[in-house]
Symmetry: C2
Amino acid sequence: MPTIKDVARKAGVSVGTVSRVLAKNDTVKQPLQLRVQAAMKELEYKPNLAARALRTNSIDVIGLVVPDITNPFFAQLAKNIEMEAAKRSHSVMLANSHDDVETEKTQIAALLDRAVCGVIVVSTSDGSDLDTADVPVVSLDRRFGAYPLIATDHYDGSQKIADHLYELGHRRIAYIAGPLSMDVARRRREGFVSRIKMLSTAEDPIELSVHEGQFDYDSGEDIGRKILSETPVGKRPTAIAAASDQQAIGVLRCARDLKLDVPGDLSVAGFDDITLASLVVPRLTTLRQPIEALAASAVDQIFETKTSSDDKAIAGNVVKRESTAPR
Amino acid sequence: MPTIKDVARKAGVSVGTVSRVLAKNDTVKQPLQLRVQAAMKELEYKPNLAARALRTNSIDVIGLVVPDITNPFFAQLAKNIEMEAAKRSHSVMLANSHDDVETEKTQIAALLDRAVCGVIVVSTSDGSDLDTADVPVVSLDRRFGAYPLIATDHYDGSQKIADHLYELGHRRIAYIAGPLSMDVARRRREGFVSRIKMLSTAEDPIELSVHEGQFDYDSGEDIGRKILSETPVGKRPTAIAAASDQQAIGVLRCARDLKLDVPGDLSVAGFDDITLASLVVPRLTTLRQPIEALAASAVDQIFETKTSSDDKAIAGNVVKRESTAPR
DNA sequence: CTGAAAGCGCTTACAG
DNA sequence: CTGAAAGCGCTTACAG
């Protein structure tokens, strides 16, 4: 492996000069610059990253901590982060916290030890905090400590779903919320509910019932069954919006059990746009989280010089598929 | 940040000695060792990894290249590799090749530049090769160049599926293979076919038809339809084994369209055990790939001193669920 | 605009 | 068994 010394010798300059052209420092005059570059090419010189790291105390690597890379949403985030990082010729070091606060701490510490130039964390618990970090840290999707949070605009997204259902003519609607102990769940519900209230008028009233559950399939199925079977047929909602795709898919299941046609008898909308959403029958109308934009924004944040500590809420869009229709 | 010098001063020894206790070099006598450790603890000393890397020319990081982390199988692999690496206090640097040979090369080169201590690659094309690598490289799941391959024992797994169907009493069986240009597809098919041939006797013959397709849902659905609708009812297979879960789920779909009860009228088996396999109705019987063992073996291979260049085929097991039943 | 030189924090022969 | 010292390959004030 040739070193900077070899290049310097071959180009007939000092190592300092080579280092400067490496750093794209334009103080080096054109002719020298070219000579050095030629020498580098000829020797197939590649800088030793460890040496650079020792001097600068930082490497071209972004740390990423997710609860579980096996979760498709996090995997998509990871993929896009890796692509964004690659654009700036940075790599990413991946760590799973396995939904454990202690592991999360350890992983972040390990990343920091390796002198990464920043870390993006999809946190496992809202409360966790970090004592020391002299590099940028941003929380993504779920808040980590006091670090700025980049997330989907849940409020806005839910409003959009509400609008969609309203425009289709639905006036008897049920909303299945997530666990209201979670920030996301609250925001999504508030967006939906506030919008419906705004749209409801004395001449054209909307009936809305709100139900709280978990974010998973079973919860959606249970609550869906309750809503659909316990209400007198004439007063049954014509549309159900769920706070997650998993819940919505649960509703789809129970609708099938109850021999209700979706979207003929009932419109169903989800939130997230997980992979399964476009695989189920009927394919699910949902709010797609802006994964690319989330990733891009998180990476930008790492490179931002002035550390804006402001949260960023990124708007998603409704993906209209087969599970919703005019009433 | 305290350095090794600070520790040396505090413990009243030389930096060499500190370095030696750091390296768990037992040439340092007990009392000194304790003094040094005490000093390290007191100062909260953490070694500078970049400096170490510069000297040793290697960091405690394993490089991992996958075609696409968004693929659940690769995500699971990545997760388990990360866990195995963590056991040895190594981190993992993740890169996606996006199914592109050039990108794959670039990513591996980038990883090697960063002086990782080894790289695991789930390759995108069988043919690719690497010129230089002075650290261990292993291919996982899909062969990369001339490097040893660690993969599921596809042959054995398919035999197990064949056995399962045979034991359930099926004697008219269809097999949907993957694209035979792919090594995996060939192995799976050979395992299945050879086993069935072995089990078939003059007194108790087995009828087997083999069909080639892609590994995806649609291909399974198309071929399934052909098999089930074009054969006279009395001669219709009572079981279909597919070379992938996706194909098998396709078959499930078309069986539903054709009003065939699974497993009443037809048993269906897949291969892989993707997440969806246990979510579909009926839940799919399949061969679970030994993901943990694959990951563990790959990481082991990286740490192996003597680089065995032998391939390793790891056996998986049948997961019996609801899509197969006695005929 | 360029060179000479110090130094980042370790590890590891080499003495003793 | 331990210390003194060289050196890994860079970057970056400091001169000139």
